[in-house]
Symmetry: C2
Subunit: 279 residues, 2 copies
């Protein structure tokens, strides 16, 4: 498995950066994560747009042009030869002499095999809520302090993931957006969150009998929802069968499965429009 660092390829064993990097010294960096299916990146333009947006918001100049970045991604896909993968593009604060001042950012691209977890896609996941507002939520920073610190907390409660709320207002999961289904609506929070690419695709869907809306809601709305689901690049849409130990809906997850099906269609359409990288 090769890793690209500043657009040079390294074997995994040699994929190192100096401990003076601001990611190590101060947790300073942004990233993005996209997937490939059959060697083709899915919604590449959307992910690159967000990556450049995050970089700008954190005052990190991307040391390569968009074309160079795209070529680096394609080079990695070609070299590693993994058809279905996740590609993570990290941009750090760079090597800092005093361990505090930003310098020239380092660009790291890693690829790893990725298949959608069919068990969770079919049976859903269990979430446990936690009162926490992510800082700079609209930017995809590398800050996952709370999520990783709380891994044990989640496990001890027999859950698969966290659902953050701020004083009762639902926000998001650490790596996914959250939706509830009511009588006539599919609703996802609107404030103080990272608005995911998959989330935006879901907002563009048409689901018979339902309007799909962005609007903040509360913890009690979750408990009484007809359904709930989470969305992300690695998940598409996973039903949520339980939150804080309480069962959500009737367990059929009809709408979540409909949404997931439509997402798969969208991805398929996108794939047909993308040229083959690996022939």
């Amino acid at each position: 498995m090769y890793v690209s660092i500043n657009n040079q390829l390294f074997s995994q064993e040699e994929a190192n950066i100096s401990v003076s990097d601001l990611s190590v010294q101060r947790g300073y960096g942004i990233f993005d994560f996209l997937k490939t299916i059959n060697y083709k990146p899915v919604f590449l333009e959307d992910y690159l747009n967000r990556f450049y947006h995050s970089a700008k918001e954190m005052h990190l100049p991307v040391p390569f042009s968009r074309t160079e970045l795209q070529e680096a991604i394609e080079g990695l896909i070609d070299k590693n030869n993994i058809p279905n993968s996740g590609i993570k593009i990290i941009l750090t604060g760079g090597y800092s002499e005093d361990g505090y001042t930003m310098s020239k950012p380092n660009l790291v691209i890693v690829q790893s095999p990725l298949e959608i977890n069919e068990h969770y896609a079919g049976n859903g996941v269990s979430l446990v809520t936690y009162n926490h507002q992510r800082q700079i939520p609209h930017v995809k920073t590398i800050d996952y302090l709370q999520a990783i610190r709380l891994q044990l907390f989640v496990k001890e409660r027999g859950a698969e993931d966290l659902l953050y709320h701020q004083n009762g207002f639902i926000r998001e999961c650490p790596r996914a957006n959250f939706f509830i289904v009511t009588e006539k609506e599919i609703v996802t929070p609107n404030s103080e969150i990272l608005k995911g690419i998959t989330r935006s695709k879901i907002l563009s869907l048409k689901i018979d009998g339902y309007t799909i809306v962005e609007r903040d809601f509360k913890l009690e709305d979750v408990y009484k929802a007809k359904e709930a689901f989470i969305s992300s690049s690695t998940k598409n849409a996973f039903p949520v069968y339980q939150v804080d130990g309480k069962q959500i809906g009737d367990g059929q997850n009809k709408i979540a499965k409909l949404v997931n099906g439509q997402l798969l269609e969208l991805i398929k359409l996108n794939q047909e429009q993308v040229a083959d990288i690996k022939v």
Copy 2:
């Protein structure tokens, strides 16, 4: 300049870690920072206590015993031969296979020359306030996303550092605690902050005519304070001559200088009790 990684010494050029480390992937790590004067660590026990406390709070097992850690620090002091220095001990989430799950932490110790900035010690610093509550504030994590992102903001306002408040309640600077002086009190915030070692030493001082107290106060109390100062290992106590462009007090900084002098005495006393590492 040598760097210790997992208790092995590396030249600065070879002091690298894998990009799979959770600090790079997820900003996950803790650290501590202490100084040496004439080759002797100052208040070493206090800093090691805090380091172990932070590690525990973030579920990071320290991969070496306290004695081994102390020996690593002493080895670095001996090898690098810098009499007055800052020593930073970083503990990261370790090399993670999936870029999310914690693994065996990596311990990195770096040393760099350090002299107190006499200009700031004499003339004071200018601060600019910002509404932000640090997450997990009682733990010394590597999260400085806001502080580094706002470096430009601070510079543009002609200030030297940030002062965080949460909705008007003063908290702390990114790397220092904050104090105000009123008619009869020296007051430092008590809630949702990292309680620094230098702060705790100041709380133990006796200053004629003043009681030194921990109590939350507001932004408007700062603007009308008789004096203000900040404290940290690299600063001892620096007067604050300005906050948000408003001058604080009469510019004499009598109490800040008194506090600073007493801190220097405390450090001197501590130094006399510490055995020579470098002979």
